[in-house]
């Protein structure tokens, strides 16, 4: 059942990321919903779940991107795994902690991508930092934090989390 829910979530993620989010892009940068989902799966589900969801999200999103499939899979898989490790050591989860975690995860993922992708000579690391890595990290943190706050204050997320983890 959980696998079906995650598969459905990923299938629904692609249209939002590919069709709707380009309309809210700021300076050509949009949040990476896939990364947010992977981080949350890692935080709540542990290393294995974070890794598997990361690989799946990276793979499916890579099918609809010009980037190498394996780069997306590897970076999202690593981020999911690290989120799982972080989740084992965090005792109190607040929106601030989540935002900071997402900021760090987004920076790690984007920096890995920038280092691994064979980008053009115009696109050096400084360019990548100021035009993609940092703006996307801010976006990811803001969207993830807002989503978490909304879910926590409006929905019964504690019940959802405990059900998700059992």
């Amino acid at each position: 059942m959980r696998t079906l829910v995650i598969a459905g979530l990923i299938a629904g993620l692609i249209p939002i990321q590919s069709v709707l989010l380009p309309h809210v892009a700021v300076w050509g940068v949009m949040p990476d919903l896939g990364l947010i989902v992977v981080c949350l799966a890692g935080f709540f589900g542990g290393e294995l779940e974070g890794l598997l969801v990361g690989l799946a999200v990276g793979w499916i999103m890579g099918l609809f991107s010009a980037a190498d499939l394996t780069v997306g899979m590897a970076t999202k898989g690593i981020v999911g795994y690290l989120a799982g490790v972080a989740g084992r050591h965090i005792v109190y989860m607040t929106p601030v902690v989540l935002v900071l975690g997402l900021l760090a995860a987004s920076c790690v993922s984007s920096l890995l991508t920038a280092l691994v992708l064979t980008l053009n000579e115009q696109q050096d690391l400084w360019w990548a930092l100021k035009t993609v890595v940092l703006p996307q990290a801010v976006f990811d943190g803001a969207v993830g934090g807002a989503f978490y706050w909304l879910a926590w204050s409006r929905l019964n997320i504690e019940r959802f989390v405990s059900e998700y983890r059992t």
């Binding site: 299938a11 629904g12 692609i14 249209p15 939002i16 990321q17 590919s18 069709v19 709707l20 380009p22 050509g28 940068v29 949009m30 990476d32 896939g34 935080f43 709540f44 589900g45 542990g46 290393e47 294995l48 779940e49 974070g50 890794l51 690989l55 793979w59 499916i60 999103m61 890579g62 099918l63 609809f64 991107s65 010009a66 980037a67 190498d68 499939l69 394996t70 997306g72 590897a74 898989g77 690593i78 795994y81 799982g84 490790v85 989740g87 084992r88 050591h89 109190y92 989860m93 607040t94 920038a114 980008l119 053009n120 115009q122 696109q123 035009t131 996307q136 926590w152 504690e158 983890r165």
Partner: protein, 292 residues
């Protein structure tokens, strides 16, 4: 502040670590092979995911059409008058061009010059944009099942849009001409100087490797040269806005404004050039030519 129990079973953690290490080693040691495997296996998954993608794209298109048809009509009368003036001018130009085309056809027949072969084109709709922030790419609603393959050229009646870089059973990813990682062979229409067109980080394009003695200048049009890739010769790419000549350089380069605004493209034509290699042919070992 809420307290959450994030502990996971110890075995799951070890299994995840082992799996992560194996996959990472695989990605680093066999990147091309794994890329091909995941692309092949993902093709039917791409078909499945293309359905919600098309549905959302259809809804978004409907809303955009409603907006442009009924809400954003302010200034339509002024625009209509401008367009009528432009139409009159273009009619005059068209009759001159018809004369020139007829003369060219007569001369071509006289010289028995073999005309350029035109490849068949298939129309496709744009249903989305790249899911990441690293590349400027669009997603089409047709893929391998419609005969689309990587490296096929994508155009509109106005000019070149880009080239296909990835396909699934029902979708294709097109890297735009404005992406810095794209490279298309082009030439300056007036001077016939050839070069390579790349995108720039500012969303424009650049014609590189123009000979130093070239007389190319701002306002010259740049078209495809037809030498490499999936484009026939003569398709419009853009107009030169600036020539850059640095001291000591072996070549000059030119900044272009692309003819097609990829942000507004909704329908495109894919050139089905028959001589392109498939993904497996490119990644596999080169075939040995048989001796006659």
């Amino acid at each position: 502040m809420r307290m959450v129990n994030f502990r996971t079973p110890y075995n799951a953690g070890r299994l995840a670590l082992a799996l992560a290490v194996v996959l990472l080693l695989g990605f680093f040691l066999l990147p091309n092979q794994l890329q091909s495997v995941f692309q092949e296996v993902g093709s039917p998954i791409g078909w499945v995911v293309s359905w919600p993608l098309r549905a959302v794209s259809g809804i978004q298109g409907g809303v955009a059409d409603f907006w442009s048809s009924f809400v954003a009509l302010q200034g339509a009368q002024e625009e209509n008058l401008e367009l009528r003036k432009e139409l009159e001018q273009l009619k005059g130009q068209n009759s001159q061009l018809r004369e020139a085309a007829a003369a060219t056809a007569r001369l071509t027949a006289l010289l028995e010059f073999k005309g350029q072969e035109m490849f068949p084109m298939v129309a496709a709709q744009v249903i989305g944009r790249d899911t990441g922030n690293w590349y400027r790419a669009i997603i089409l609603n047709k893929g391998e099942s419609d005969g689309f393959r990587p490296d096929m050229g994508v155009v509109t009646p106005a000019g070149v849009v880009g080239r296909i870089v990835k396909t699934t059973a029902a979708t294709s990813v097109v890297l735009l001409v404005t992406d810095p990682n794209n490279a298309i062979a082009g030439l300056v229409q007036r001077t016939r100087d050839e070069g390579i067109i790349e995108g720039t980080t500012s969303g424009l394009a650049r014609l590189k490797y123009i000979p130093l003695l070239s007389t190319a200048r701002a306002g010259d049009r740049v078209v495809t040269s037809g030498l490499v890739g999936g484009f026939p010769r003569g398709l419009s790419i853009g107009t030169i806005t600036r020539i850059d000549k640095s001291e000591g350089a072996l070549f000059q380069s030119a900044e272009l404004i692309p003819e097609v605004d990829a942000g507004l493209v909704e329908e495109v034509l894919v050139i089905q050039s028959p001589n392109l290699q498939t993904e497996s042919e490119r990644s596999g070992t080169p075939k040995v030519k048989r001796k006659p």
